[in-house]
Symmetry: C2
Subunit: 311 residues, 2 copies
Protein backbone atom coordinates (compact mmCIF):
# COMPACT_ATOMS: atom_id res chain seq x y z
CA UNK A 1 0.00 0.00 0.00
CA UNK A 2 2.57 2.50 1.10
CA UNK A 3 4.69 2.00 -1.98
CA UNK A 4 6.34 5.33 -1.39
CA UNK A 5 7.59 5.54 -4.95
CA UNK A 6 11.04 4.93 -3.58
CA UNK A 7 12.69 7.31 -5.91
CA UNK A 8 14.45 8.95 -3.01
CA UNK A 9 17.22 7.99 -0.72
CA UNK A 10 16.23 5.98 2.28
CA UNK A 11 18.14 8.56 4.31
CA UNK A 12 15.46 11.21 4.05
CA UNK A 13 12.77 8.78 5.12
CA UNK A 14 14.91 7.73 8.03
CA UNK A 15 15.49 11.33 8.93
CA UNK A 16 11.80 12.09 8.82
CA UNK A 17 10.93 9.15 11.02
CA UNK A 18 13.65 10.02 13.53
CA UNK A 19 12.38 13.58 13.63
CA UNK A 20 8.86 12.39 14.34
CA UNK A 21 9.89 9.79 16.91
CA UNK A 22 12.62 11.77 18.59
CA UNK A 23 14.55 8.55 18.81
CA UNK A 24 16.73 6.54 16.48
CA UNK A 25 15.90 3.15 17.87
CA UNK A 26 12.18 3.86 17.89
CA UNK A 27 12.39 5.04 14.30
CA UNK A 28 14.30 1.90 13.37
CA UNK A 29 11.61 -0.26 14.90
CA UNK A 30 8.85 1.44 12.96
CA UNK A 31 10.89 1.25 9.78
CA UNK A 32 11.70 -2.42 10.33
CA UNK A 33 15.43 -1.88 10.02
CA UNK A 34 18.34 -2.08 12.40
CA UNK A 35 19.03 0.97 14.48
CA UNK A 36 22.61 1.01 13.28
CA UNK A 37 21.41 1.58 9.74
CA UNK A 38 19.35 4.56 10.81
CA UNK A 39 22.13 5.94 12.94
CA UNK A 40 24.60 5.75 10.10
CA UNK A 41 22.29 7.37 7.57
CA UNK A 42 21.71 10.28 9.92
CA UNK A 43 25.45 10.63 10.42
CA UNK A 44 25.95 10.51 6.69
CA UNK A 45 23.40 13.24 6.16
CA UNK A 46 25.10 15.39 8.76
CA UNK A 47 28.33 14.71 6.97
CA UNK A 48 26.90 15.92 3.67
CA UNK A 49 25.37 18.98 5.22
CA UNK A 50 28.41 19.59 7.35
CA UNK A 51 26.33 20.43 10.35
CA UNK A 52 24.58 18.37 13.00
CA UNK A 53 20.88 17.84 12.34
CA UNK A 54 19.96 16.71 15.84
CA UNK A 55 20.98 17.58 19.31
CA UNK A 56 21.58 14.32 21.13
CA UNK A 57 19.99 14.95 24.46
CA UNK A 58 19.57 12.29 27.13
CA UNK A 59 15.86 12.79 26.79
CA UNK A 60 15.92 12.19 23.06
CA UNK A 61 16.87 13.77 19.76
CA UNK A 62 15.86 17.32 19.04
CA UNK A 63 16.24 19.18 15.75
CA UNK A 64 18.93 21.81 15.46
CA UNK A 65 18.34 24.91 13.36
CA UNK A 66 19.98 23.21 10.43
CA UNK A 67 17.78 20.22 11.14
CA UNK A 68 14.68 22.35 10.93
CA UNK A 69 15.75 23.76 7.59
CA UNK A 70 16.41 20.29 6.30
CA UNK A 71 13.16 19.01 7.74
CA UNK A 72 11.29 21.54 5.68
CA UNK A 73 13.09 20.32 2.60
CA UNK A 74 12.13 16.76 3.42
CA UNK A 75 8.54 17.81 3.83
CA UNK A 76 8.55 19.51 0.46
CA UNK A 77 10.09 16.48 -1.21
CA UNK A 78 7.74 14.02 0.41
CA UNK A 79 4.64 16.05 -0.32
CA UNK A 80 5.66 16.53 -3.90
CA UNK A 81 6.42 12.83 -4.16
CA UNK A 82 2.88 12.18 -3.05
CA UNK A 83 1.53 14.59 -5.62
CA UNK A 84 3.61 12.98 -8.33
CA UNK A 85 2.47 9.54 -7.35
CA UNK A 86 -1.14 10.60 -7.45
CA UNK A 87 -0.70 12.20 -10.84
CA UNK A 88 0.95 9.12 -12.18
CA UNK A 89 -1.88 7.12 -10.69
CA UNK A 90 -4.44 9.35 -12.34
CA UNK A 91 -2.60 8.72 -15.59
CA UNK A 92 -3.36 5.05 -15.20
CA UNK A 93 -6.99 5.88 -14.52
CA UNK A 94 -7.24 4.85 -10.91
CA UNK A 95 -8.40 8.03 -9.29
CA UNK A 96 -7.40 7.25 -5.76
CA UNK A 97 -5.46 8.83 -2.96
CA UNK A 98 -5.68 10.02 0.58
CA UNK A 99 -6.51 13.51 1.77
CA UNK A 100 -6.17 14.93 5.24
CA UNK A 101 -8.53 17.78 6.04
CA UNK A 102 -8.47 20.15 8.99
CA UNK A 103 -11.75 21.98 9.46
CA UNK A 104 -13.50 24.04 12.05
CA UNK A 105 -16.37 22.69 14.02
CA UNK A 106 -19.03 24.84 12.40
CA UNK A 107 -18.94 22.81 9.20
CA UNK A 108 -19.75 19.39 10.54
CA UNK A 109 -23.49 19.68 10.36
CA UNK A 110 -24.00 20.63 6.76
CA UNK A 111 -21.04 21.48 4.57
CA UNK A 112 -18.73 18.56 5.23
CA UNK A 113 -21.33 15.80 4.97
CA UNK A 114 -22.42 17.19 1.63
CA UNK A 115 -18.89 17.49 0.34
CA UNK A 116 -17.91 14.02 1.50
CA UNK A 117 -21.00 12.50 -0.02
CA UNK A 118 -20.29 14.19 -3.32
CA UNK A 119 -16.66 13.09 -3.27
CA UNK A 120 -17.65 9.50 -2.60
CA UNK A 121 -19.87 9.60 -5.63
CA UNK A 122 -17.23 11.01 -7.89
CA UNK A 123 -14.09 9.37 -6.56
CA UNK A 124 -14.97 6.26 -4.56
CA UNK A 125 -11.30 5.41 -4.07
CA UNK A 126 -10.28 8.58 -2.30
CA UNK A 127 -10.02 8.16 1.43
CA UNK A 128 -10.21 11.03 3.86
CA UNK A 129 -9.01 11.97 7.33
CA UNK A 130 -10.91 14.80 8.97
CA UNK A 131 -9.59 16.63 12.00
CA UNK A 132 -11.77 19.14 13.85
CA UNK A 133 -9.49 21.93 15.01
CA UNK A 134 -9.74 25.45 16.30
CA UNK A 135 -9.20 28.32 13.92
CA UNK A 136 -5.72 28.93 15.25
CA UNK A 137 -4.50 25.38 14.89
CA UNK A 138 -5.45 25.04 11.25
CA UNK A 139 -2.67 27.16 9.74
CA UNK A 140 -0.28 25.35 12.04
CA UNK A 141 -1.43 21.93 10.91
CA UNK A 142 -0.98 22.98 7.29
CA UNK A 143 2.49 24.38 7.91
CA UNK A 144 3.63 21.21 9.66
CA UNK A 145 2.32 19.07 6.85
CA UNK A 146 -0.18 17.36 9.11
CA UNK A 147 -3.05 18.34 6.85
CA UNK A 148 -3.39 18.89 3.13
CA UNK A 149 -6.33 21.27 3.18
CA UNK A 150 -7.79 23.52 5.83
CA UNK A 151 -11.23 25.12 6.01
CA UNK A 152 -11.71 27.93 8.47
CA UNK A 153 -13.36 31.27 9.07
CA UNK A 154 -11.56 34.59 8.90
CA UNK A 155 -7.98 33.39 8.72
CA UNK A 156 -5.64 36.30 8.57
CA UNK A 157 -3.37 36.40 5.55
CA UNK A 158 -0.18 34.49 6.03
CA UNK A 159 2.75 33.91 3.72
CA UNK A 160 2.68 30.17 4.38
CA UNK A 161 -0.95 29.85 3.38
CA UNK A 162 -2.52 29.76 0.01
CA UNK A 163 -6.18 30.57 -0.30
CA UNK A 164 -7.97 28.29 -2.70
CA UNK A 165 -11.51 29.50 -2.23
CA UNK A 166 -13.41 32.04 -0.21
CA UNK A 167 -16.98 33.09 0.43
CA UNK A 168 -18.61 35.58 2.70
CA UNK A 169 -21.23 34.81 5.29
CA UNK A 170 -23.22 37.35 7.17
CA UNK A 171 -23.26 37.21 10.92
CA UNK A 172 -26.65 36.89 12.49
CA UNK A 173 -28.57 35.96 15.59
CA UNK A 174 -30.14 32.53 15.72
CA UNK A 175 -33.08 31.66 17.92
CA UNK A 176 -36.23 29.62 18.10
CA UNK A 177 -38.89 30.76 15.65
CA UNK A 178 -41.21 31.61 18.54
CA UNK A 179 -38.68 34.01 20.01
CA UNK A 180 -39.89 37.61 20.18
CA UNK A 181 -37.01 38.76 17.97
CA UNK A 182 -37.44 36.11 15.31
CA UNK A 183 -39.71 38.24 13.17
CA UNK A 184 -37.38 41.18 12.87
CA UNK A 185 -35.71 41.79 9.52
CA UNK A 186 -32.50 42.75 11.23
CA UNK A 187 -31.20 43.34 14.73
CA UNK A 188 -28.78 45.54 16.53
CA UNK A 189 -26.87 45.05 19.69
CA UNK A 190 -29.12 46.85 22.07
CA UNK A 191 -32.15 44.91 21.04
CA UNK A 192 -30.30 41.61 21.35
CA UNK A 193 -28.89 42.36 24.74
CA UNK A 194 -32.34 42.68 26.21
CA UNK A 195 -32.73 38.94 25.88
CA UNK A 196 -30.62 36.04 27.15
CA UNK A 197 -27.63 35.46 24.90
CA UNK A 198 -25.26 32.55 24.27
CA UNK A 199 -21.88 34.04 23.52
CA UNK A 200 -18.71 32.56 22.03
CA UNK A 201 -15.46 32.17 23.93
CA UNK A 202 -12.29 33.72 22.47
CA UNK A 203 -11.16 30.40 20.98
CA UNK A 204 -13.86 30.72 18.37
CA UNK A 205 -13.24 32.97 15.41
CA UNK A 206 -16.79 34.18 15.93
CA UNK A 207 -15.55 35.93 19.02
CA UNK A 208 -13.64 38.42 16.92
CA UNK A 209 -16.86 39.40 15.22
CA UNK A 210 -19.14 39.43 18.20
CA UNK A 211 -16.76 41.03 20.68
CA UNK A 212 -16.87 44.49 19.11
CA UNK A 213 -20.60 44.45 19.56
CA UNK A 214 -20.07 44.48 23.27
CA UNK A 215 -17.02 46.65 23.40
CA UNK A 216 -16.95 48.58 26.61
CA UNK A 217 -18.72 46.17 28.88
CA UNK A 218 -16.51 43.31 29.79
CA UNK A 219 -19.26 40.90 30.60
CA UNK A 220 -22.50 41.49 28.76
CA UNK A 221 -25.33 41.64 31.19
CA UNK A 222 -27.52 39.12 29.51
CA UNK A 223 -24.85 36.58 28.58
CA UNK A 224 -26.32 33.42 30.00
CA UNK A 225 -23.45 31.29 28.75
CA UNK A 226 -20.13 31.45 26.98
CA UNK A 227 -19.47 28.33 24.97
CA UNK A 228 -16.55 27.23 22.83
CA UNK A 229 -18.62 25.14 20.44
CA UNK A 230 -20.89 26.47 17.76
CA UNK A 231 -22.75 23.19 17.73
CA UNK A 232 -23.42 23.49 21.41
CA UNK A 233 -24.56 27.08 20.99
CA UNK A 234 -26.89 25.92 18.27
CA UNK A 235 -28.36 23.17 20.41
CA UNK A 236 -28.86 25.61 23.25
CA UNK A 237 -30.62 28.05 20.98
CA UNK A 238 -32.86 25.26 19.70
CA UNK A 239 -33.86 24.49 23.26
CA UNK A 240 -34.74 28.10 23.87
CA UNK A 241 -31.89 28.93 26.24
CA UNK A 242 -31.37 32.17 24.39
CA UNK A 243 -30.15 33.67 21.18
CA UNK A 244 -26.76 32.75 19.73
CA UNK A 245 -24.61 34.35 17.06
CA UNK A 246 -23.52 32.48 13.97
CA UNK A 247 -23.55 32.53 10.22
CA UNK A 248 -26.18 30.66 8.24
CA UNK A 249 -23.85 27.90 7.22
CA UNK A 250 -24.13 25.89 10.39
CA UNK A 251 -27.90 25.90 10.63
CA UNK A 252 -29.13 25.36 7.08
CA UNK A 253 -30.99 22.21 8.06
CA UNK A 254 -32.70 23.90 10.99
CA UNK A 255 -33.68 26.84 8.81
CA UNK A 256 -35.32 24.54 6.34
CA UNK A 257 -37.22 22.68 9.03
CA UNK A 258 -37.97 25.97 10.69
CA UNK A 259 -36.67 24.84 14.01
CA UNK A 260 -34.43 27.89 14.15
CA UNK A 261 -34.68 31.43 12.82
CA UNK A 262 -31.85 33.58 11.53
CA UNK A 263 -31.84 37.36 11.75
CA UNK A 264 -28.90 39.39 10.45
CA UNK A 265 -27.07 41.47 13.01
CA UNK A 266 -25.94 44.79 11.68
CA UNK A 267 -23.51 47.28 13.10
CA UNK A 268 -23.61 50.12 10.67
CA UNK A 269 -23.54 47.64 7.83
CA UNK A 270 -23.69 43.86 7.65
CA UNK A 271 -20.89 41.95 9.41
CA UNK A 272 -19.23 39.36 7.25
CA UNK A 273 -17.16 36.35 8.12
CA UNK A 274 -15.00 34.82 5.40
CA UNK A 275 -14.97 31.08 5.07
CA UNK A 276 -11.90 29.99 3.16
CA UNK A 277 -10.18 26.85 1.93
CA UNK A 278 -6.44 26.89 2.44
CA UNK A 279 -3.38 24.85 1.59
CA UNK A 280 0.23 25.30 2.48
CA UNK A 281 1.85 27.70 0.12
CA UNK A 282 4.67 26.37 -1.94
CA UNK A 283 3.31 23.03 -3.00
CA UNK A 284 1.39 21.51 -5.80
CA UNK A 285 -1.60 19.62 -4.55
CA UNK A 286 -2.03 15.93 -5.28
CA UNK A 287 -4.95 15.29 -7.57
CA UNK A 288 -7.00 13.87 -4.74
CA UNK A 289 -6.51 16.98 -2.62
CA UNK A 290 -7.15 19.13 -5.64
CA UNK A 291 -10.44 17.34 -6.24
CA UNK A 292 -11.41 17.99 -2.64
CA UNK A 293 -10.48 21.63 -2.96
CA UNK A 294 -12.73 21.94 -5.99
CA UNK A 295 -15.63 20.22 -4.29
CA UNK A 296 -15.24 22.40 -1.21
CA UNK A 297 -15.08 25.46 -3.37
CA UNK A 298 -18.30 24.55 -5.15
CA UNK A 299 -20.26 23.97 -2.00
CA UNK A 300 -18.90 26.97 -0.15
CA UNK A 301 -19.53 29.34 -2.98
CA UNK A 302 -23.00 27.90 -3.43
CA UNK A 303 -23.81 28.75 0.17
CA UNK A 304 -21.95 32.03 0.37
CA UNK A 305 -23.09 35.54 -0.16
CA UNK A 306 -20.88 37.32 -2.65
CA UNK A 307 -18.55 34.70 -3.94
CA UNK A 308 -15.05 34.81 -5.26
CA UNK A 309 -12.73 32.20 -6.55
CA UNK A 310 -9.05 32.74 -6.87
CA UNK A 311 -7.11 29.74 -7.92
Amino acid sequence: MKQTLRVHNAAIHYFDMVRRCGSIREAARRLNVASSAVSRQIIKLEDEIQAPLFERLPSGLKLTTAGEIFARHVMVVMQDTERTRSELGALRGLRSGHVRLAIVEGLISDLMPTVIERMRERYPNISTDIAILGSQQIPEALAKGQADLGVAFSLKRHADLRQLAIAHFELGAIMRPDHPLARHAELNLITCSQYPMILPTPELSLYQLVAPLFSGQERPTNGVARVSSVELAKQMAKRGVGIAFQTRIGILEELEKETLAFVPVRLGGPIYSDLGVYARNGRFLPVAADAYARALNEEIVARGQGDRRQW
Copy 2:
Protein backbone atom coordinates in the same frame (compact mmCIF):
# COMPACT_ATOMS: atom_id res chain seq x y z
CA MET B 1 31.57 24.47 -6.45
CA LYS B 2 28.59 22.48 -7.59
CA GLN B 3 28.41 20.45 -4.43
CA THR B 4 24.81 19.69 -5.10
CA LEU B 5 24.21 18.70 -1.49
CA ARG B 6 24.03 15.14 -2.71
CA VAL B 7 21.24 14.22 -0.44
CA HIS B 8 19.34 12.77 -3.36
CA ASN B 9 19.69 9.74 -5.50
CA ALA B 10 21.98 10.10 -8.46
CA ALA B 11 19.11 8.77 -10.53
CA ILE B 12 17.16 12.00 -10.50
CA HIS B 13 20.20 13.98 -11.58
CA TYR B 14 20.82 11.49 -14.33
CA PHE B 15 17.20 11.73 -15.37
CA ASP B 16 17.34 15.49 -15.46
CA MET B 17 20.47 15.52 -17.57
CA VAL B 18 19.05 12.96 -19.98
CA ARG B 19 15.91 15.02 -20.29
CA ARG B 20 17.92 18.11 -21.12
CA CYS B 21 20.28 16.35 -23.53
CA GLY B 22 17.76 14.08 -25.19
CA SER B 23 20.45 11.44 -25.17
CA ILE B 24 21.80 8.97 -22.65
CA ARG B 25 25.35 8.92 -23.94
CA GLU B 26 25.53 12.68 -24.14
CA ALA B 27 24.21 12.97 -20.60
CA ALA B 28 26.76 10.41 -19.45
CA ARG B 29 29.57 12.43 -21.02
CA ARG B 30 28.51 15.62 -19.26
CA LEU B 31 28.11 13.77 -15.99
CA ASN B 32 31.49 12.07 -16.35
CA VAL B 33 30.06 8.61 -15.89
CA ALA B 34 29.65 5.59 -18.10
CA SER B 35 26.59 5.53 -20.31
CA SER B 36 25.63 2.17 -18.94
CA ALA B 37 25.28 3.66 -15.49
CA VAL B 38 22.90 6.29 -16.79
CA SER B 39 20.97 3.81 -18.85
CA ARG B 40 20.49 1.53 -15.89
CA GLN B 41 19.37 4.29 -13.55
CA ILE B 42 16.76 5.38 -16.03
CA ILE B 43 15.54 1.83 -16.39
CA LYS B 44 15.43 1.51 -12.64
CA LEU B 45 13.35 4.66 -12.36
CA GLU B 46 10.96 3.39 -14.97
CA ASP B 47 10.77 0.17 -13.02
CA GLU B 48 9.82 2.02 -9.83
CA ILE B 49 7.27 4.16 -11.58
CA GLN B 50 6.02 1.22 -13.61
CA ALA B 51 5.83 3.31 -16.72
CA PRO B 52 8.34 4.38 -19.34
CA LEU B 53 9.70 7.86 -18.83
CA PHE B 54 11.12 8.31 -22.30
CA GLU B 55 10.16 7.32 -25.77
CA ARG B 56 13.24 5.84 -27.40
CA LEU B 57 13.15 7.34 -30.84
CA PRO B 58 15.94 6.93 -33.35
CA SER B 59 16.32 10.69 -33.24
CA GLY B 60 16.76 10.72 -29.47
CA LEU B 61 14.87 10.38 -26.23
CA LYS B 62 11.63 12.24 -25.72
CA LEU B 63 9.64 12.50 -22.51
CA THR B 64 6.44 10.54 -22.23
CA THR B 65 3.50 11.97 -20.31
CA ALA B 66 4.65 10.13 -17.21
CA GLY B 67 8.10 11.51 -17.89
CA GLU B 68 6.78 15.04 -17.90
CA ILE B 69 5.03 14.52 -14.61
CA PHE B 70 8.18 13.11 -13.12
CA ALA B 71 10.28 15.89 -14.63
CA ARG B 72 8.20 18.40 -12.76
CA HIS B 73 8.83 16.52 -9.56
CA VAL B 74 12.56 16.54 -10.24
CA MET B 75 12.44 20.27 -10.84
CA VAL B 76 10.65 20.83 -7.55
CA VAL B 77 13.15 18.69 -5.70
CA MET B 78 16.17 20.30 -7.27
CA GLN B 79 14.94 23.82 -6.75
CA ASP B 80 14.09 23.12 -3.17
CA THR B 81 17.47 21.51 -2.70
CA GLU B 82 19.02 24.73 -3.89
CA ARG B 83 16.91 26.73 -1.49
CA THR B 84 17.85 24.46 1.37
CA ARG B 85 21.50 24.70 0.53
CA SER B 86 21.37 28.45 0.43
CA GLU B 87 19.54 28.58 3.76
CA LEU B 88 22.09 26.28 5.30
CA GLY B 89 24.79 28.47 3.83
CA ALA B 90 23.17 31.57 5.27
CA LEU B 91 23.18 29.79 8.60
CA ARG B 92 26.96 29.61 8.38
CA GLY B 93 27.05 33.29 7.52
CA LEU B 94 28.28 33.09 3.97
CA ARG B 95 25.53 34.88 2.15
CA SER B 96 26.21 33.58 -1.29
CA GLY B 97 24.33 31.95 -4.09
CA HIS B 98 23.42 32.27 -7.70
CA VAL B 99 20.27 33.84 -9.09
CA ARG B 100 18.97 33.67 -12.62
CA LEU B 101 16.82 36.60 -13.67
CA ALA B 102 14.65 36.95 -16.73
CA ILE B 103 13.70 40.54 -17.42
CA VAL B 104 12.23 42.59 -20.20
CA GLU B 105 14.33 44.94 -22.19
CA GLY B 106 12.81 48.11 -20.81
CA LEU B 107 14.61 47.73 -17.50
CA ILE B 108 18.18 47.62 -18.67
CA SER B 109 18.78 51.34 -18.66
CA ASP B 110 17.83 52.25 -15.15
CA LEU B 111 16.19 49.69 -12.89
CA MET B 112 18.49 46.72 -13.30
CA PRO B 113 21.78 48.59 -12.99
CA THR B 114 20.55 50.16 -9.78
CA VAL B 115 19.36 46.87 -8.36
CA ILE B 116 22.53 45.05 -9.29
CA GLU B 117 24.68 47.74 -7.80
CA ARG B 118 22.71 47.64 -4.58
CA MET B 119 22.91 43.86 -4.44
CA ARG B 120 26.64 43.89 -4.96
CA GLU B 121 26.97 46.24 -2.03
CA ARG B 122 24.87 44.12 0.27
CA TYR B 123 25.77 40.62 -0.87
CA PRO B 124 29.06 40.62 -2.71
CA ASN B 125 29.02 36.85 -3.02
CA ILE B 126 25.77 36.52 -4.91
CA SER B 127 26.28 35.98 -8.60
CA THR B 128 23.66 36.72 -11.19
CA ASP B 129 22.62 35.61 -14.64
CA ILE B 130 20.41 38.03 -16.50
CA ALA B 131 18.47 37.04 -19.58
CA ILE B 132 16.66 39.64 -21.66
CA LEU B 133 13.46 38.05 -22.89
CA GLY B 134 10.17 39.05 -24.38
CA SER B 135 7.14 39.34 -22.13
CA GLN B 136 5.76 36.05 -23.36
CA GLN B 137 8.90 34.05 -22.76
CA ILE B 138 9.28 35.09 -19.15
CA PRO B 139 6.49 32.97 -17.65
CA GLU B 140 7.75 30.12 -19.75
CA ALA B 141 11.30 30.46 -18.46
CA LEU B 142 10.02 30.46 -14.90
CA ALA B 143 7.83 27.43 -15.46
CA LYS B 144 10.68 25.46 -16.97
CA GLY B 145 12.95 26.36 -14.12
CA GLN B 146 15.33 28.24 -16.37
CA ALA B 147 15.00 31.38 -14.29
CA ASP B 148 14.38 32.03 -10.61
CA LEU B 149 12.79 35.45 -10.91
CA GLY B 150 11.08 37.28 -13.75
CA VAL B 151 10.37 40.97 -14.13
CA ALA B 152 7.88 41.98 -16.78
CA PHE B 153 5.06 44.32 -17.62
CA SER B 154 1.41 43.39 -17.57
CA LEU B 155 1.68 39.65 -17.19
CA LYS B 156 -1.71 38.08 -17.10
CA ARG B 157 -2.48 36.07 -14.00
CA HIS B 158 -1.40 32.50 -14.24
CA ALA B 159 -1.66 29.67 -11.76
CA ASP B 160 2.00 28.78 -12.23
CA LEU B 161 3.17 32.28 -11.39
CA ARG B 162 3.49 33.96 -8.09
CA GLN B 163 3.57 37.71 -7.95
CA LEU B 164 6.12 39.02 -5.49
CA ALA B 165 5.83 42.73 -6.18
CA ILE B 166 3.91 45.07 -8.40
CA ALA B 167 3.79 48.73 -9.25
CA HIS B 168 1.83 50.77 -11.73
CA PHE B 169 3.33 52.99 -14.38
CA GLU B 170 1.40 55.42 -16.47
CA LEU B 171 1.71 55.21 -20.20
CA GLY B 172 2.91 58.36 -21.90
CA ALA B 173 4.41 59.80 -25.01
CA ILE B 174 8.11 60.52 -25.00
CA MET B 175 9.74 63.06 -27.28
CA ARG B 176 12.48 65.64 -27.45
CA PRO B 177 11.90 68.62 -25.19
CA ASP B 178 11.74 70.88 -28.21
CA HIS B 179 8.88 68.90 -29.70
CA PRO B 180 5.68 70.92 -30.14
CA LEU B 181 3.78 68.51 -27.90
CA ALA B 182 6.33 68.49 -25.12
CA ARG B 183 4.73 71.28 -23.18
CA HIS B 184 1.28 69.71 -22.96
CA ALA B 185 0.15 68.44 -19.59
CA GLU B 186 -1.46 65.43 -21.22
CA LEU B 187 -2.20 64.14 -24.68
CA ASN B 188 -4.81 62.19 -26.49
CA LEU B 189 -4.62 60.02 -29.53
CA ILE B 190 -5.73 62.49 -32.11
CA THR B 191 -3.19 65.05 -31.11
CA CYS B 192 -0.39 62.49 -31.16
CA SER B 193 -1.30 61.10 -34.51
CA GLN B 194 -0.76 64.44 -36.14
CA TYR B 195 2.97 63.98 -35.62
CA PRO B 196 5.34 61.20 -36.64
CA MET B 197 5.11 58.26 -34.23
CA ILE B 198 7.35 55.33 -33.35
CA LEU B 199 5.09 52.42 -32.54
CA PRO B 200 5.70 49.07 -30.84
CA THR B 201 5.39 45.74 -32.58
CA PRO B 202 3.07 43.10 -31.08
CA GLU B 203 5.97 41.32 -29.37
CA LEU B 204 6.17 44.17 -26.88
CA SER B 205 3.70 44.24 -24.04
CA LEU B 206 3.37 47.94 -24.78
CA TYR B 207 1.54 46.97 -27.91
CA GLN B 208 -1.44 45.81 -25.89
CA LEU B 209 -1.70 49.27 -24.38
CA VAL B 210 -1.06 51.31 -27.46
CA ALA B 211 -3.05 49.24 -29.92
CA PRO B 212 -6.47 50.23 -28.58
CA LEU B 213 -5.54 53.82 -29.20
CA PHE B 214 -5.49 53.07 -32.87
CA SER B 215 -8.32 50.62 -33.03
CA GLY B 216 -10.04 50.79 -36.33
CA GLN B 217 -7.16 51.83 -38.50
CA GLU B 218 -4.86 48.95 -39.09
CA ARG B 219 -1.84 51.04 -39.85
CA PRO B 220 -1.77 54.44 -38.21
CA THR B 221 -1.17 57.12 -40.75
CA ASN B 222 1.72 58.75 -39.05
CA GLY B 223 3.51 55.62 -37.87
CA VAL B 224 7.01 56.24 -39.16
CA ALA B 225 8.36 53.04 -37.68
CA ARG B 226 7.34 49.93 -35.79
CA VAL B 227 10.13 48.67 -33.57
CA SER B 228 10.40 45.70 -31.25
CA SER B 229 12.80 47.37 -28.85
CA VAL B 230 11.92 50.01 -26.33
CA GLU B 231 15.55 51.07 -26.17
CA LEU B 232 15.58 51.58 -29.90
CA ALA B 233 12.36 53.55 -29.74
CA LYS B 234 13.89 55.71 -27.05
CA GLN B 235 17.01 56.38 -29.06
CA MET B 236 14.91 57.28 -32.08
CA ALA B 237 12.83 59.66 -30.03
CA LYS B 238 16.00 61.27 -28.66
CA ARG B 239 17.15 61.84 -32.22
CA GLY B 240 13.88 63.50 -33.07
CA VAL B 241 12.53 60.81 -35.35
CA GLY B 242 9.17 61.18 -33.70
CA ILE B 243 7.27 60.50 -30.53
CA ALA B 244 7.30 57.09 -28.88
CA PHE B 245 5.12 55.50 -26.22
CA GLN B 246 6.53 54.18 -22.99
CA THR B 247 6.32 54.43 -19.24
CA ARG B 248 8.66 56.65 -17.29
CA ILE B 249 10.75 53.79 -15.99
CA GLY B 250 12.91 53.44 -19.04
CA ILE B 251 13.81 57.09 -19.43
CA LEU B 252 14.46 58.34 -15.93
CA GLU B 253 17.99 59.35 -16.79
CA GLU B 254 16.90 61.24 -19.88
CA LEU B 255 14.17 63.00 -17.93
CA GLU B 256 16.68 64.19 -15.39
CA LYS B 257 19.07 65.46 -18.03
CA GLU B 258 16.12 66.88 -19.91
CA THR B 259 17.05 65.17 -23.12
CA LEU B 260 13.58 63.68 -23.33
CA ALA B 261 10.15 64.83 -22.24
CA PHE B 262 7.32 62.65 -20.95
CA VAL B 263 3.65 63.52 -21.39
CA PRO B 264 0.92 61.20 -20.10
CA VAL B 265 -1.42 59.79 -22.69
CA ARG B 266 -4.96 59.54 -21.53
CA LEU B 267 -7.89 57.70 -22.97
CA GLY B 268 -10.75 58.59 -20.71
CA GLY B 269 -8.46 58.10 -17.74
CA PRO B 270 -4.79 57.34 -17.36
CA ILE B 271 -3.51 54.11 -18.87
CA TYR B 272 -1.49 51.99 -16.51
CA SER B 273 0.99 49.27 -17.13
CA ASP B 274 1.84 46.94 -14.23
CA LEU B 275 5.45 46.06 -13.69
CA GLY B 276 5.70 42.92 -11.61
CA VAL B 277 8.26 40.58 -10.13
CA TYR B 278 7.34 36.93 -10.49
CA ALA B 279 8.53 33.53 -9.41
CA ARG B 280 7.26 30.09 -10.18
CA ASN B 281 4.43 29.23 -7.89
CA GLY B 282 4.93 26.30 -5.63
CA ARG B 283 8.45 26.86 -4.47
CA PHE B 284 10.28 28.49 -1.65
CA LEU B 285 12.88 30.87 -2.93
CA PRO B 286 16.53 30.44 -2.02
CA VAL B 287 17.76 33.24 0.20
CA ALA B 288 19.76 34.74 -2.63
CA ALA B 289 16.73 34.90 -4.90
CA ASP B 290 14.66 36.20 -2.03
CA ALA B 291 17.16 38.99 -1.46
CA TYR B 292 16.93 39.90 -5.12
CA ALA B 293 13.16 39.89 -4.97
CA ARG B 294 13.27 42.29 -2.05
CA ALA B 295 15.71 44.60 -3.77
CA LEU B 296 13.64 44.59 -6.94
CA ASN B 297 10.54 45.28 -4.95
CA GLU B 298 12.12 48.28 -3.25
CA GLU B 299 13.27 49.86 -6.44
CA ILE B 300 10.15 49.15 -8.40
CA VAL B 301 7.86 50.48 -5.74
CA ALA B 302 10.07 53.54 -5.36
CA ARG B 303 9.60 54.33 -9.02
CA GLY B 304 5.98 53.28 -9.36
CA GLN B 305 2.80 55.24 -9.02
CA GLY B 306 0.46 53.60 -6.55
CA ASP B 307 2.35 50.76 -5.03
CA ARG B 308 1.32 47.47 -3.63
CA ARG B 309 3.21 44.63 -2.13
CA GLN B 310 1.77 41.22 -1.67
CA TRP B 311 4.15 38.66 -0.36
